[in-house]
Amino acid sequence: MRRLLRRPEAGAFFAALLVYLFFAIAAWKANFVSLNGTAAWLDTSAELGIMALAIGLLMIAGEFDLSIGSVIGATSIILAIGTNHYGVNPWIMLAAVFAFGGLVGLINGLIVVRTGLPSFIVTLATNYGIVGAALGFSRLLTNTTSSSMLTTPGVDFLFASQWGQANIAILWWIGLTLAALGVLMRTPFGNWIYATGGNIVAARGAGVPTSLVKIVLFVTTALTATLVGAIQAVEFHSGNAANGQGYVFQAPIAAVIGGVLLGGGYGSPLGLFFGSVIYGVISVGIFYTGWNTDWLLLILGALLLAAVLANSYFRRLALTTH
């Protein structure tokens, strides 16, 4: 039992359980605990969870990425304009946006690694730059900043299948969580991610290519933002250059609630998973209770604080001897 409590996801798991039980009781009459209710919070958790996963890994390596919001928005508007205004095949446009995402990640990573500037500032700048460029170009090309998107059945299946209320994004989320779990726990690269964030001098001393680790993670994060942008564009059959800004802070919040240490070096994909569950359960649960949703931000703020306190307690526990 004590061994389980020492795991980095322990705090997030118990918090998720508590939050879920709370809303299960508070919103029992509104059928929060039903197939539809469950699908509703899973949908919200999934799209955030995919993003939080990538941000979480980057944070474990000691870096931050605020440009994800702009990549999500730019992805959706590029897909929409490409397929709708220029009639390009959706698959080709998908290849184009993933290339674009990869390039953004590469630029973020190279700037951070080469200049040594804080990634918080660097990616804040790229976030504004890309949003501005996406708004400007879409206005220039189509005279609007949002547009509908054309898809094919294959694209629809991959990014927007639905079973009842449940979106395929849930499968993406679970699959990517398992992949991240495999990489972090069972590959040398995963070891390097922890080491890069835990003590970069010691990591370099041991021969870990810390710059490469960071660049790979910046690229992964931007590609993940592209995936979320594509899921949203296909799901709603529309793109908007201003989409995605909500994720800029929601993803790191879910990551911190999930037990990731803001300073890097600590955290786990399962913790990120439960952090996103908590966020989804609260934001959907509050609708089901019928309370005024104005309270949502207050609850989230209090939860963030509680999560940080709980996680620092669990971390101290992890540092006591067996």
Partner: protein, 269 residues
């Protein structure tokens, strides 16, 4: 002692940075199974000497010999490849990672093939615990224990055990005991002796003359970038060594100042 070629030898090495002479005409040699203590006050040139030994800086003049062969390290990697391992104070380990993951960082064992190649955690944990326990750190029983649960001395031992496991023949220990309490320092000093018994050549850098006298075979005192004294075990008393480190006259001056201070009645701190 050893009549074989020294593991590593510096001959008349000098190093200047932008006109400032950090080292002048320093010669030292490290033999297998012996401990060379490098003593000196802050700013005496110890750090520069470490960086030359571990391949971070080339010397401005003079020569480095490894196993009797003149060598010019292209960088720290080449020095490591030749068996020169440097363990720095407090930067060797990562607290929020497990003992096994720390031990094998940068040289992780894997099993399987191609896309199924994965970290062999069981093997890493088994070897790490074996190695660390063989140096007397019995508090490590599980490889998945976080390094942050261990004391400063135990972390230092892990860093040293790790360097030895990966084939270090020459260990450069940079102030390994200076941040530690008495018991902790004893653990590290015991390990240093154990490493000597295994035939490792050790450069023990410290400004703690007591720790140096406890384990050292040979002693070199640096003062303002130059060797001010070189002697063997038992040739000098601790007071003599302390005086040499401080440059002799300065110590007498400090003693005189302290005596005056106490006469003023302000001696109780």
């Amino acid at each position: 002692m050893a009549e074989r070629a020294p593991l590593i030898e510096l001959k008349n090495v000098s190093k200047g940075f932008a006109g400032i002479q950090a080292l002048s005409d320093v010669s030292i040699s490290v033999h297998p199974g012996s401990i060379l203590c490098l003593l000196g006050d802050n700013g005496a040139g110890k750090s520069t000497l470490i960086k030359i030994l571990s391949g971070f800086h080339p010397p401005s003049s003079g020569a480095i010999f490894v196993d009797g062969v003149q060598t010019r390290f292209s960088g720290p990697r080449e020095a490591r490849g030749l068996g020169v391992a440097t363990v720095h104070q407090e930067v060797g380990t990562i607290p929020m990672m497990s003992v096994a993951r720390n031990f094998f960082l940068g040289a992780e064992p894997t099993r399987g093939w191609g896309p199924f190649r994965r970290l062999d955690i069981a093997k890493a944990e088994r070897i790490a615990v074996e190695q660390i326990r063989s140096f007397g750190i019995t508090r490590v029983t599980h490889g998945d224990q976080l390094v942050g649960t261990l004391s400063g001395g135990e972390r230092q031992v892990i860093a040293i055990a790790r360097a030895m496991y990966f084939g270090a023949r020459i260990l450069i220990l940079d102030e390994p005991t200076s941040a530690l309490g008495v018991k902790e320092a004893a653990k590290v000093l015991t390990l240093v002796k154990a490493a000597r018994a295994r035939g490792i050549g050790i450069v023990f850098i410290t400004h703690n003359a007591r720790h140096a006298m406890l384990v050292g075979d040979h002693f070199v005192v640096l003062n303002q970038g130059a060797v001010s004294a070189a002697f063997n075990r038992g040739e000098k008393s601790r007071e003599e060594v302390l005086n040499l480190m401080a440059g002799g006259r300065q110590t007498e001056q400090i003693e005189a100042d302290l005596a005056l201070f106490e006469q003023d009645g302000q001696g109780v701190l």
